[in-house]
Symmetry: C2
Subunit: 366 residues, 2 copies
Amino acid sequence: MNLRIPGPTPCPEEVLAAMTKQMVDHRGPEFKDVLLRVTERLKTFFQTKNDVVTLTAAGTGGLEAAIVNFLSPGERVLAVSIGVFGDRFAKIAETYGASVTRLRFEDGSAADPERIAAALADDPSISAVTVTHNETSTGVTNDLAAIAKVVKAADKLILVDAVSSLSAIDLPVDALELDVVVSGSQKGWMVPPGLSFISVSPRGWEANAKATMPRFYLDVREAKKSLDKGQTPWTPAVSIFYALDVALDMMLAEGMANIFERHRRIAQRTREGVKEMGLKPLVRDERYASNTVTAVWAPEGVEVKALRAALRERNVVVAGGQGALDGKIFRIGHLGYVTDADIEETLSVLHDVLPKVGYHAAAATA
Amino acid sequence: MNLRIPGPTPCPEEVLAAMTKQMVDHRGPEFKDVLLRVTERLKTFFQTKNDVVTLTAAGTGGLEAAIVNFLSPGERVLAVSIGVFGDRFAKIAETYGASVTRLRFEDGSAADPERIAAALADDPSISAVTVTHNETSTGVTNDLAAIAKVVKAADKLILVDAVSSLSAIDLPVDALELDVVVSGSQKGWMVPPGLSFISVSPRGWEANAKATMPRFYLDVREAKKSLDKGQTPWTPAVSIFYALDVALDMMLAEGMANIFERHRRIAQRTREGVKEMGLKPLVRDERYASNTVTAVWAPEGVEVKALRAALRERNVVVAGGQGALDGKIFRIGHLGYVTDADIEETLSVLHDVLPKVGYHAAAATA
C-alpha cells in the first residue's frame, strides 16, 4: 500500500523490525541507554541545546503539554491559526482556562507576521503566542522565522506546533529562539505513533515555574527530572523508543540537509504533478507550500469520497479534508519515509482514476 | 533475560512480531477492524457490557482519565490507598482540584471495607471513591467485591485502578457495579506499554456529563464518540493495537479461567519459594496476596541494590521498592506472559545469589 496520508506515515522495515525486541526494565540500564541516545539525537534534529523530553502520547498530547506546563488560567494568549491544528492548539488553551485571542487566517493562507505584531502591540497583556509551523490540514507552512522575530521583538513566550514539520522541514529551534516546540513520532520521523517530543528553552522553564494550569501525566518538569536519571516518570512506550532509535540512525546517515532537500523536491513534484492534471493546490501562495503535505481542491463534479475510494482500490491511500474542508479537498502526505517513486506512483494512479470519478480535465484547465 | 518486574512484562514472540506490520490510515477500514475487534474482546476480559475506550497513554494517563472525566474541582472524594499507586490516584484528583480525604492503610495491608463504610457514613458530602484493585508497590490485592459493596450501598461513584490486575486476576466489572475501571497494556495483557483501557458504566457517563475538570487529550467522551465511528480522536499507537490484537487471540485461546488459575498457581509458588528461603513477603495477610506481583522484605544485612545487581548478572531482573519502601523490599513480577518455569528459574537464581550478597538463612529463619 502506498500510504500517502500526513501521518501515520510508512515506516522503514528496519524501524518496524526494531519493535520485535523484547521488553526491558524501563528503569534499568538498557532503557537508559536508549533514552539518552535518542534524546541527544532528537536535539540534533531540533537544532537545539534546550532540553528535549519525550512523552508517551500522540501529537495532540504533546500540544496539550505545550499549553498546560507553561500557562496559567486567565493568562492572555494570542493563538495564531491557519487551520484545524492551529484551532486545536487554541482550543486546548481555552479548555485549561487561558484567555485566548484568536488570529485566524483563511484556509490556504500563511499567517501574516505584521498582523501578529499588530495584535501584540494592540494588547500588551498578552504573554504568550501559540503558532503552527506546518498546518497539516491545509498544506501550508508558516514563515516561522518572521513570526518568531515579531513575537520575540514583543518579548512574548512562543509555543510552536511542529508536529508535522520537524525533521522534514528546516526548523532551527535555537536560532529562532523558540521556547516550546512539539513534534510527533508518526510524522517526519518514520516511526509509529505514540511518542511526542517537546523542547523547552530556559525562558520556557521560567514560564513553567510560574504556570499553574493543572497537569500530571503530561508534566514536562517530571519528565525532565526523570530524564536526568535516564528514566521517564511513567512507563514509556518502550517499543516505539526502539523504533525511534533505529529511525534516528537512518536519518543521521541520510543527513539533515539531504532529508530537507528530499522533502522539498518531492513536495514540488507533487504540486507540479497535480497542477499538470489541472488540479489546484489549496495553498494560495506557493512560497508557503508545505514540503510535507499537499492539500488539493477536489475539482468540480468529483466527490472526494469517491476519489479516495478509487485511489484506495489502486493501493494509494490519501487523506480527506478536516473540519470545514471535509468533502472539499484531499491531501497527499509526503513526509518521512517517502521516495520520488512513491509520489510518481501516486500521481500516475491519480491521473488514471480521476476520469473514472467524474473529472473532465479540459473543463478544469479551461 | 527473565524479566520479572511488574511491567513492562515480557511479550510473546507472536505479539512482538505483530508490530512489524506496516502503518495504515488510522481513519480507514483496516484500523477500524482492529479497533472494533480489540474493543469487543477487551469487554470480554473486563466482564462488562459497559463502554470500553482505549487511550494512547501509559497506565498513569489512564488514571488521570479516570479522574478528570468524572469529577469536578471542589468535589469531595474518598481516596482509599494501600500504597504508591493508591497515593498517586489521590494526588491526581488533588492536582485537578478535588477535595480529597485519604484513607491510607499500612503498606502490606489490604483496605478494610468497614473503615471505608465508616468514612462514607461520616461524610455524606463525599460523592466518589478511588481505589486500587491490585497495589503493584506492595503486592497486595484488595477485596474489591467487599469494597464495591459498601461504596454502592452508600450510593457513591467508584473509580478503580485495575492497571496491574485486570486480565490476570478475576475482576467482574459489571457484577461488582464498578463505574470506571482502568487497565494498562504492559501488565497482564502481554503487550508493550503505550495503551490504557477504561470502562465506563452508565452511572459513569452520568457523572461525566456533569464533570467540569479540564481535559482534552484524555477525554473519554471524545474517545467514545470516535469509537462509534471506528476511530480514535487523536492518532492512536497503531503498532501497539496490532500487538494487542494478537495478545487477545492468545488470551482467548488460553481461556480466562485458565489465565486466572495460572496466575494464582505461579503467585502461590513464588510466595512459598521465598518463604522456603527464609524470606518474608510484605503482604500481612496471605488472603490478600497479589497474584501478579510479590513484594519481599530484604533480609537483614542484604542491600536491595546489591541483590538486584547479583540477580541481573544471572539474567533475572526484579524490581526494587518505591517511595518509602525503596531499599527495603524487592518485587517479583509474575503477570501476563509468565510460566511456571520462569518462576522456578527466578527462585533458583535467588537461592544461589542470596548468600553472595550477605544473606545468612539460618539467622533469618531463627
